[in-house]
């Protein structure tokens, strides 16, 4: 059975299941003649086997919170000038601009929260709320979330929980309401903003051995995931534009050498965790870094201006 037929079979079986749920309350009554005309296919076992081969694919980018944590853990300093000013929030009126800048502002507020920039965090939370409201995302960021931030301004754990939850509310609302293209656009906005801040924070005088440069090289591992995520919504004009921009970025990432050896597992009794051990070889020249930095800045500026 080819893939198209297999998917059709799976959809058909799930469809039959849905109908059986709806009509479940009729069980025990005599079937009408019309009911008798709709029969389950004889090859249900075959279809069940096809389900075994069907797959749902999820492509997970680093969240804005994770990106901000990576920047901080690399020892980078906070720089407010790198964030997208909240004063620009009223200039975003299209769905694409609002989705991109929902991601951008969410990354900026994550960055502000990790560096304990409390007033900035609240300002950026309000800007992200405006983007979410503009996209019709209900209950993504509520006033009570902002109040909770203000009440727990010195409690980093609560702040991180609120930031994480607002991000989840936005992306899940869009996914659950049949707007995967808008959800993907927001994720791209957040990822590019994290990469922009990282590249701008690299001091070229301390390029060699710079931990932040290592984290930027690691983003090469996510570029194909990003393209796959966008390809899921290929054909949507705003997404097609993003695919062109991200493909340009991929050509620069492709110039960076990154090879990984076999991964071996080792259990660490002290922390009760498994350690994944592997040898990695990377190489990025300052010239390639500058090209990457320029390309990221161009894309990011096209999002925020």
């Amino acid at each position: 059975m080819d893939k198209k037929n297999r998917i059709s079979s799976v959809v058909f079986l799930v469809f039959i299941l849905a109908i059986s749920l709806i009509t479940g309350c009729k069980s025990g009554t005599k079937p009408s003649k019309e009911d008798e005309e709709v029969k389950l296919p004889d090859n249900i076992t075959e279809i069940k086997q096809d389900i075994d081969q069907a797959k749902r694919i999820f492509n997970a980018l680093p969240s804005p919170l994770e990106s901000a944590m990576l920047i901080k853990s690399a020892g980078a300093q906070f720089n407010e000038k790198l964030l997208n000013p909240v004063s620009k929030q009223n200039t975003y009126v299209t769905s694409k601009a609002m989705a991109l800048n929902l991601g951008v502002y969410t990354c900026d507020l994550s960055f502000a929260s990790l560096y304990e920039q409390t007033q900035l965090l609240i300002d950026y939370m309000n800007a992200a709320k405006k983007m979410a409201d503009g996209l019709g995302i209900l209950k993504a960021i509520e006033q009570e979330d902002i109040d909770k931030l203000e009440e727990n301004i010195n409690n980093s754990e609560v702040i991180m929980d609120v930031v994480s939850q607002t991000f989840m509310n936005s992306s899940s609302y869009l996914e659950d309401n049949g707007q995967p293209a808008t959800a993907a656009t927001g994720l791209v906005g957040g990822w590019i903003e994290g990469l922009y801040i990282s590249t701008q924070l690299v001091d070229m005088k301390e390029f060699n051995g710079n931990k932040l440069v290592g984290r930027i090289i690691d983003q090469k591992l996510s570029i194909d995931i990003l393209i796959d995520l966008l390809n899921d919504s290929k054909g949507v004009p705003s997404v097609d534009e993003l695919i062109v921009q991200v493909t340009k970025l991929k050509t620069v990432f492709d110039k960076i050498r990154l090879t990984t050896g076999n991964v071996k597992t080792e259990y660490d009794k002290t922390s009760n965790t498994t350690v994944l051990k592997s040898e990695v070889t990377t190489d990025m020249t300052p010239e390639i870094f500058l090209e990457l930095s320029k390309t990221v800045a161009e894309i990011r500026n096209s999002f925020v201006n």
């Binding site: 079986l13 799930v14 469809f15 849905a18 109908i19 749920l21 709806i22 019309e34 005309e37 709709v38 249900i44 069940k48 389900i51 075994d52 797959k55 749902r56 694919i57 999820f58 492509n59 997970a60 680093p62 969240s63 804005p64 919170l65 994770e66 944590m69 990576l70 853990s73 690399a74 991180m160 929980d161 930031v163 994480s164 607002t166 991000f167 989840m168 992306s171 899940s172 996914e175 659950d176 309401n177 984290r215 690691d218 983003q219 591992l221 996510s222 995931i225 796959d228 990984t260 076999n262 991964v263 597992t265 922390s271 009760n272 965790t273 498994t274 350690v275 994944l276 592997s278 040898e279």
Partner: protein, 149 residues
């Protein structure tokens, strides 16, 4: 012929039900999966992956994990489903972990010497009752992280 005529209407109904089911998964993910992270010192990364899966159905997730972090993956299925299996694989398709070898534990904690893209394969196992309507329910996949000590 009647079936063919009614299919478009029923298809719309099916998609409406799908959206409703996915929306219910969000509540399930928050109530049942999230506590596996936040109650154990991990910060949820904010990403949301949940779907209604049918008995025997498989899902794959691709994600990059970073060397500076400690991670917990939590994969939880609704109680009406049979056991949910998951495997973690590297880019060369080597299986690094399978929860089947650990009594179908819903979580796995790990850290990395170097950043890696990993593939997570989730499969709802089967009750093995031929002829029965396959069970279906929400499966949530979530990640928590904390800085490596």
């Amino acid at each position: 012929m009647r079936l063919i005529k009614t299919l478009p209407v029923l298809a719309i109904l099916f998609f409406a039900i799908s959206y409703q089911a996915d929306a219910q998964c969000k509540k399930f993910a928050k109530d049942e999966c999230l506590p596996e992270l936040s109650g154990h010192g991990y910060t949820h990364d904010g990403n949301y992956h949940a779907a209604v899966l049918v008995e025997g159905e498989e899902a794959e997730l691709y994600k990059t994990f970073y060397s500076d972090m400690e991670y917990r993956v939590a994969i939880v299925g609704e109680s009406k489903l049979p056991a949910v299996e998951f495997k973690i694989m590297d880019v060369n398709k080597n299986v690094l972990y399978s929860n089947k070898d650990n009594a179908y534990a819903p979580t796995w904690d790990f850290k990395l010497q170097s950043s890696q893209q990993l593939k997570i394969v989730v499969k709802v196992s089967s009750f093995n009752k031929p002829g029965d309507t396959p069970a279906s329910g929400c499966v949530a996949i979530m990640f928590g992280f904390k800085l490596k000590k």
